[in-house]
Symmetry: C2
Subunit: 433 residues, 2 copies
């Protein structure tokens, strides 16, 4: 863990190093992934079944068995406790409510020249959701990825999830059912991404693929981008907590560790104006680490990438926050709204002492798929917009074209584009440009 | 040019081939580009000046001479004719008016549980606009890329434009002035993209880079993506015209050629329900090609990639349109609005017989930077959204957390994320999960 003091002479350099700390290891799987995609593209189901048999240890899988049936989902649901089912339902309801408010509106108008103009939003027709298998299979992520698609109006939402050894994750299937997913297939890895992008006999292609995955999945998404749309490739998780000395150090320490426990490459940073409070948080981190189930992962993250930054006044933190552009920003201060209003770059902001980031991971309502690695400077969390696209509309009648067309002819001439000018000039009985 | 008849037995296959026709040639410049980026990143202005001296034949360039000054812009403006200046001004005004209506609104509410929720949009702080030099330097593209950024509220908008041999393009500089660009540098290629992404002594880094360019520029944008945001990588232009037999074939032929003249890899397609009209359009194309200044380029595009598709009824075209997902869709029919309402996938729609696509390229108001290569299935033209990002807000007090927190603790437990659960449980005085 790094301890920085904003008053120190070398602070600017130390902060710069913190910003550019390399946390991810690059694994070059591009050639392997390209071969798998090419194979699925050309041999379809046959290739998909062969890869799944091999990687997920399902030697008897046939194309007919690729789909996870409604009966299988029913059976899985029966294994989920009523308490967990209620928690999932509350989450789904709150996420739906928040995202419904995101649905963008188009517009249409006729201007003074008589030109009709407009913009409309339409949903992507079909979307695919990649859900990792094993320990990274999070039902909360199924809700967070699927619900915005359904709210956007995606007609066909397809989930792929690997089932190593044939084991289904009941909570993941329960979340899929709640979110209204239309089709589920027991496939994963680059082969699943290839099937979603190019289609096979069993899996019709989609227009956009979202969802987290390992290095193979990320590489496959990059490679099929263009054929289909993709969401961002998420990096390791991050949290930045801005806290004054009036907080309980144990609470703030737990918040820092809630991201650190995701991944040894995760990063947790505390900014405080109270150096003593910073020390007490560091001690509380140590104390939590001893008892947490994922303490070893969290410890590696905290020791390698964690930081406590002491600033003279919390007002000084805004410039630092904007440069870090954190995925998650907690403002555990007396007047969090005033501070939040000054921040430009953050994926999601958690206001006040009683809003730990984790409540937003599950149940708050806003999306937990958020921009990492400083990309909140230019990108946003997942939302309804990601499953819609804009079409603009322009309509002239003869009079309207007469009003604005000559300027187009002039500019086309200046750009040397004769057919552009001709197409307008012919309609205006103008001399060809 | 391909002639397809929807009633033919092999139509489905022939249409599928048309959809997947390969038009772009891949040029692998990645290694060269990576070396340039790395060099600019480490040697800054010195490298930038060296590359520019070499590629743009400016042997006496110094870091102090990188910026194109306001005096140089003034001098360039004096060379622009009043007619062209007025055309540019009308374009800028209309584009601004259309894009102002795109500015998205955030929201804020408190729900029944007492949880405060919201979403806000903020502008990207600094953006870079790449403008090609030479024949592809289009002042209209400067307006189309810069105005949405300024409307979004981007504080610092930086333009880079190569000036081979030191020659400035007066119209490009006039467009830059009209659009409110803040800084202009006489650099281009991968070195300009590297400077915008990583910064040099003279050029401070930006957060997002937009604008068209050659293979080196496109590769550089891909490589710096992540460090900064980028817009889409545009492919060759396309137009799909849906026209009944009541149109003037010469008008429709000019419309088809207005995209064909951009690039030999461009694609122009006509769908009509009148085979005879189709033949007359084909003849009119031949006649235009003989006189157009860029006739040779347009001819190569039309012969290699052009198509006329005859359908029994125009109502049958909607499914074909959605599969093509054209960048530009012209509806030269009696009731274009009714047809437009049925279309899902198109970058921009041009309504009726008096709305040639070219009027939208310059003066209509909507953006002319649009999704190519079937990507209108999942993406949109450039707009104000591309220069803004969303931040979500979540705020609980002790009571609100008591209402929704236990569900978060339950789900965190099910996902095995102990610190997540702990951070909520501590605040609720619950037993650690």
């Amino acid at each position: 863990m790094l301890l920085l003091d904003a008053r120190a002479a070398d602070f600017a350099d130390a902060f710069e190093s913190l910003l550019h700390m390399k946390r991810e290891t690059d694994e070059d799987v591009n050639a392997t992934v390209a071969a798998i995609i090419n194979d699925v593209r050309h041999r379809g189901d046959l290739a998909l079944v062969e890869y799944t048999a091999k990687f997920d240890r399902l030697p008897h899988l046939t194309p007919a068995g690729l789909a996870i049936t409604a009966d299988e989902v029913d059976a899985a649901l029966a294994q989920v406790s009523p308490e967990l089912m209620a928690a999932l339902e509350l989450a789904a309801e709150r996420i739906t409510d928040f995202h419904r408010r995101q649905v963008p509106q188009g517009y249409a108008y006729t201007d003074a020249a008589g030109v009709r103009l407009g913009q409309r939003w339409t949903a992507v027709q079909a979307a695919g959701l990649y859900v990792p298998g094993g320990t990274a299979a999070y039902p909360s992520s199924v809700l967070m990825n699927a619900i915005p698609a359904k709210v956007a109006g995606v007609e066909r939402l397809v989930m792929v999830v690997p089932t190593p050894g044939g084991v289904l994750n009941p909570l993941v299937l329960a979340a899929a059912r709640l979110a209204g997913i239309d089709e589920i297939y027991r496939v994963g890895g680059a082969q699943a991404v290839a099937a979603l992008a190019h289609g096979t006999e069993t899996i019709r292609p989609v227009d956009k693929i979202v969802g987290p995955g390992n290095a193979f999945v990320a590489a496959a998404k990059r490679q099929v981008f263009g054929t289909v749309g993709i969401d961002m490739i998420a990096g390791p998780s991050e949290i930045l907590v801005v806290a004054d000395g009036a907080n309980d150090p144990a609470w703030i320490a737990a918040d820092l560790l809630s991201q650190a426990e995701h991944d040894t490459a995760a990063q947790s940073i505390l900014i405080t104006d109270d150096a003593d409070f910073g020390r007490r948080v560091a001690l509380a981190v140590e104390s939590h680490l001893k008892v947490l189930p994922r303490g070893e992962i969290a410890r590696q993250s905290w020791e390698a990438h964690g930081a406590i930054v002491v600033v003279p006044h919390l007002d000084d933190c805004v410039a630092l926050v904007d440069r870090i552009a954190p995925e998650h920003l907690e403002l555990a201060v007396e007047n969090p709204d005033a501070l939040a209003a000054k921040v430009r770059n953050a994926g999601a902001i958690f206001l006040g002492r009683y809003t730990p980031e984790a409540v937003g991971d599950y149940i708050g309502g806003p999306n937990h798929v958020l921009p990492t690695a400083r990309s909140a400077r230019f990108s946003s969390g997942l939302g309804v917009h990601d499953f819609m696209k804009r079409t603009t509309l322009l309509g002239c009648d003869a009079n309207a074209l007469r009003a604005i067309g000559p300027a187009a002819v002039a500019l086309a001439g200046a750009e040397g584009l004769g057919a552009h000018g001709l197409s307008v000039a012919l309609r205006l009985n103008m001399a060809a440009p």
